[in-house]
Amino acid sequence: MARGYEPRLNRVASRWALIGVPALSVMLGSMTVLIPQISVFPLLPPFGLLILLAWRMIVRDLWPVWAALPLGFFDDIFSGQPLGSAMLLWTLVFLVLDIFDRWMMWRDFRQDWVIAGTLVAVVLLVGLAIANSSGGNTSAVVLLPQIIVSILIFPLMVRLCARLDVLRWTL
């Protein structure tokens, strides 16, 4: 839910921290693929996207719509998907979320979770289609565990972003 932020501290929060903490957290999420683990099937949730969505759900007006472009570009560099894949899909996710914001003004967390889970599943499946179009040949069933793990881990990401949200206002 969008909260109004009136400065309740006796000082002004740093502009850099206000924008930098969310952006950095998404970028670090994208960089989780650097963990030294050679996986033979996709199981690692797309942390970059999950953190991005968590921020979007907590602070609705944090990102301008185009913010998904540079963040998606950063994700593409690491993810192994063809370049442009996350740029395209993440931007579309933001546009879809804007439509949802008009439809359902009042949302509780469970509805947010359903929306985010559906979007993550769709992004992963379309990402698979994009990867397959550029030379891969993987069936969608392979993605099922990854989708389930991603959906289950989303509340944890929201918790994390809520902590970071407090942090960025006190930095």
Partner: protein, 294 residues
């Protein structure tokens, strides 16, 4: 009252234009990204230069972390073991029954292998690896199965070279940076390896499925692969020299025989990059023509 939408700023023209502009940028950017994706379709490695540069910068980090956490492969495996636990009992009982027959099979295979190795040893000279390096990370969140190797162009690594682990074939190099390279694993859905059955040389194609397994498609229709069959590279078509072990068949499905790769990249400490194998040229067409005339 509903919470004020940040996308509806009221009557401020400036704010309205700002939001409109951000939509224009987003849609234009999405269009540009779509263009990138479409070009990647026709030139899969065209945009890999940037990814190689970044891999160069990040592979030392992964490499250091890997040596610090040497047993991450085992962690993944033990988690995986829990997922299997339900069906494990049944499978073990079945395996016990089959073990006697398998032992005999294994004996036969061992002898066969020894004989084949002797034969190969007579013919082929030892291959000198180009580089020896660790696989440091992989694209765990993507459906493509790439791994990052901590050796690059400065070590003599080039596109297309096969990567071989101690247990068997791992994959081949698809893009090269200065100190890192991207390896397309044989289990990737887009990777096809020409193989043959080690016992009788029945040719097949090993096609990755993207879930850590391979599908074996026999090239001749009269061959039936059994679970336990071992497959090695056939060397046909070049790139991979003949005789590198690739996979072991595990069960027969509708689409083909499923197989598990011999080399588990998750447990691999080091892999060797080998030079591209040049297949001996096929007999010249002129000779065939002459034979017909005769």
């Amino acid at each position: 009252m509903a919470p004020p939408s940040p996308r509806r700023p009221g009557f401020s023209r400036r704010a309205q234009y700002g939001i409109f502009a951000s939509y224009v940028i987003a849609v234009a950017g999405a269009g540009f990204a779509l263009l990138l994706v479409l070009t990647a379709r026709f030139d899969p490695n065209g945009h890999s230069a940037l990814q190689s540069i970044v891999a160069d910068m990040t592979s030392p980090i992964s490499s250091a972390a890997r040596s610090a956490l040497a047993s991450t492969g085992d962690v993944g495996e033990s988690i995986g073991a829990y997922f299997d636990a339900a069906s494990k009992n049944k499978a073990m009982a079945k395996e016990l029954a089959a073990s006697k027959r398998k032992l005999i099979d294994a004996d036969v295979l061992r002898q066969e292998n020894r004989r084949l190795k002797e034969l190969l040893g007579l013919k082929s000279e030892a291959v000198q690896p180009i580089a020896r390096a660790a696989l440091v990370s992989s694209t765990g969140a993507s459906s493509r199965r790439y791994a990052i190797l901590s050796a690059g162009a400065s070590d003599g690594v080039a596109n297309g070279q096969p990567v071989v682990g101690p247990d068997g074939l791992v994959g081949r190099i698809v893009s090269v940076g200065r100190v890192s390279a991207r390896v397309l694993l044989i289990v990737d859905g887009g990777n096809v390896t020409p193989v043959k059955r080690s016992v009788d040389g029945a040719p097949a194609l090993a096609i990755g499925t993207g879930d850590g397994r391979l599908i074996l498609r026999p090239l001749t229709s009269d061959v039936q692969f059994k679970p336990g069959d071992i497959f090695v590279t056939s060397g046909s078509g070049g790139i991979y020299r003949p005789g590198i072990s690739v996979a072991r068949a595990i069960d027969r499905g509708r689409e083909g025989t499923k197989a598990r790769p011999m080399a588990d990249p998750a447990r691999l400490d080091y892999a060797e990059v080998e030079p591209i194998y040049l297949a001996p040229p096929p007999p010249a067409p002129s000779q065939i023509g002459e034979a017909k005339e005769d």
